[in-house]
């Protein structure tokens, strides 16, 4: 077993154990990110009117896919990092020969694993509320059975979404080195994230010019892109993954520059 795999296994295992330590909390966290299910209720009614590009069943499938992608791409690193800096708990992590970012990433992975059973139960609940999403209706006949490649690309897209969100939030979190309290600054990107990622509105319903503009930002790739792959298999794959790659590189460079500058500014307070 290589050193990297051993580190990965040890940290994922331990952080999974940490996340399942408080069982009720997992359920509450999973339920708290169920906005897509509420939006599903709204948009299924809208889709039934026939005034939108997606019909009711497509809307239901899309928002169930959004719910799944959201569950596996939730990021809260800014809150954790801020606390670690302000309380001085970052110091022990800085003394170890591994970048603390890996710990934060693997905490998220551990949390995703702990959520999985709840996510499956909630997904089953969605299908029971709107069974046509599973076996289709007159407008969209046939079962919702994503092909293997759809699933694979959706999973890859989902983890790209996680990486994008993580890098963006972690870069904002670096502000803690200078300003200490930075979690509020994340609200600056939360609104664009909410409206441009496809959580509230399926992006197909935007005016074409707005859709074209939005597709150059990182937000659609945080939800809409992988959700659309999973829901109907029709998505701009090449452009999508190319834009993701560019944003990941840009955010990674920004993050590393801020990290290095921040460490020079770090006062290891409280420690």
């Amino acid at each position: 077993m290589t050193s990297a795999v051993r580190k990965l296994r040890a940290m994922t295992g331990v952080y999974y154990a940490l996340m399942v330590e408080y069982r009720a909390e997992i359920v509450l966290w999973a339920v708290s990110t169920s906005l897509p299910l509420i939006m599903m209720g709204v948009w299924v009614q809208a889709g039934a009117s026939g005034d939108f590009k997606l019909d009711a069943t497509q809307m239901a499938r899309y928002f169930i896919a959004v719910f799944l992608i959201r569950q596996l791409s939730v990021v809260w690193v800014i809150h954790d990092f801020e606390w670690q800096v302000v309380s001085g708990r970052l110091s022990p992590l800085l003394l170890q020969p591994i970048d603390p970012a890996w710990r934060f990433v693997l905490m998220h992975v551990g949390e995703q694993l702990s959520r999985l059973p709840i996510v499956l139960v909630l997904t089953a609940l969605c299908f029971s509320l709107y069974p046509a999403a599973l076996w289709g209706d007159a407008q969209t006949p046939g079962w919702w059975t994503p092909s293997l490649w759809q699933v694979v690309l959706a999973v890859v897209g989902c983890y790209c979404a996680f990486v994008l969100r993580f890098l963006m939030q972690y870069s904002f979190a670096m502000g803690a080195f200078w300003f200490e309290r930075v979690a509020a600054s994340h609200n600056l990107i939360f609104l664009p994230y909410l409206f441009l990622s496809g959580i509230v509105i399926p992006l197909e319903e935007l005016p074409p010019w707005a859709f074209d503009v939005v597709m150059w930002t990182p937000f659609p790739y945080m939800v809409w892109f992988p959700a659309t792959i999973l829901a109907d298999g029709e998505a701009p794959y090449v452009k999508g993954f190319a834009v993701i790659a560019v944003w990941v590189i840009v955010l990674w460079i920004v993050n590393r520059l801020l990290w290095r500058a921040g460490l020079k500014h770090y006062s290891a307070m409280g420690a």
Partner: protein
């Protein structure tokens, strides 16, 4: 060759200065005022392999700031430091693998899980093979009298048990230089003794250098032959424990028991009266005058018993810091 080198090391912090009251709060909100605080000034010392050095100073003297610079947590504002041939704030992996910092008031263990889980991560992070990690954990746990404490959630442990687990986590990778900041803080007497014994054994077995800060003089006297005194960021003394008394305590303590009660005024000609309780008195007498004063005491008073000793090191250092003498 020294494992730790500090050469005119200095650190200046910029801190916000908020005036009190509502007016001060509003002014602070509109326009922040800052002042520069020199936490460490021109400190120079070296530490050799295997040496245990006590690092003493009152609160706010700059001890922890110095340790933070030596471990690479913060960048110095002036001077140079070198630990095991590395510049600490470069945070080279090879450097981080060979040092540790234990902070009595901070923890690295995951609060909600047993210490064993944190040790598992540390073993992987420091590339200690599973078999070696198990052997080292058993050995360190044995030295610290730890048993099932390692498998209980950290939040359920007492302060002493937690500190011992912290030491196991901090030493699992067998560091060559240990920076210990108040490792016995808040521990009971038995736990303090266990930690001291453990550090002594670790030092002898691994040949590790230790720089130790503590407010408990018992830690220093039990472990350190050499001490560094720091006050208001500046170095006051670097040498042996005994040397402090020679240099900073020109008095010796004379404890006298008389045949009958005596008054303080009757004792003043012989020295500074530290305490008087009926027939028993403690006097401070200048070293260069000691023989003559004791001879006079025997001639002029009814002495039943007399002992001469150096004043307690705690008193000397306490007085030194209180006076801020250089």
């Amino acid at each position: 060759m020294p494992v730790v080198v500090c050469d005119q090391l200095g650190k200046t912090y910029r801190v916000a200065n908020k005036p009190p009251g509502l007016g001060g709060t509003l002014r602070h909100f509109v326009r922040r005022r800052y002042k520069d605080v020199e936490a460490v000034k021109d400190i120079s010392f070296t530490i050799e392999p295997g040496e245990i050095v006590g690092f003493l100073g009152p609160n706010g003297a700059g001890k922890t700031t110095t340790l933070k610079m030596l471990t690479g947590l913060i960048h110095p504002s002036a001077g140079r430091c070198d630990v095991l041939g590395h510049t600490p704030f470069g945070r080279d992996r090879d450097f981080l693998r060979r040092i540790t910092l234990v902070m009595g008031q901070k923890q690295q263990l995951i609060w909600d899980l047993p210490a064993m889980d944190s040790l598992r991560i540390n073993a992987a992070v420091y590339d200690v093979p599973d078999r070696d990690a198990k052997a080292r954990i058993d050995e360190l746990a044995g030295l610290l009298d730890l048993d099932d404490e390692l498998t209980r959630p950290v939040r359920k442990l007492s302060l002493g048990e937690r500190m011992k687990c912290e030491l196991v986590a901090a030493l699992l990778h067998h560091p060559k230089v240990l920076f210990l900041d108040e490792p016995t803080l808040g521990l009971d007497v038995n736990a303090q003794t266990a930690v001291r014994r453990f550090l002594c054994e670790y030092n002898q077995k691994q040949g590790a250098a230790i720089l130790l800060t503590s407010h408990y003089m018992a830690d220093i006297t039990a472990l350190c032959d050499r001490v560094i005194l720091i006050h208001q960021g500046a170095l006051m003394y670097d040498g042996s424990l005994d040397g402090i008394i020679q240099r900073f305590a020109p008095f010796r303590e004379v404890k006298v028991e008389f045949d009958s009660d005596v008054t303080e005024s009757a004792l003043r000609p012989y020295g500074e009266v530290e305490s008087l309780d009926g027939r028993v008195a403690r006097l401070l007498v200048r070293r260069d005058d000691l023989t003559q004063r004791i001879a006079r005491l025997f001639n002029e008073q009814q002495v039943a018993d007399l002992t001469v000793a150096d004043p307690p090191i705690e008193d000397v250092i306490g007085k030194l810091f209180a006076e801020g003498a250089a």
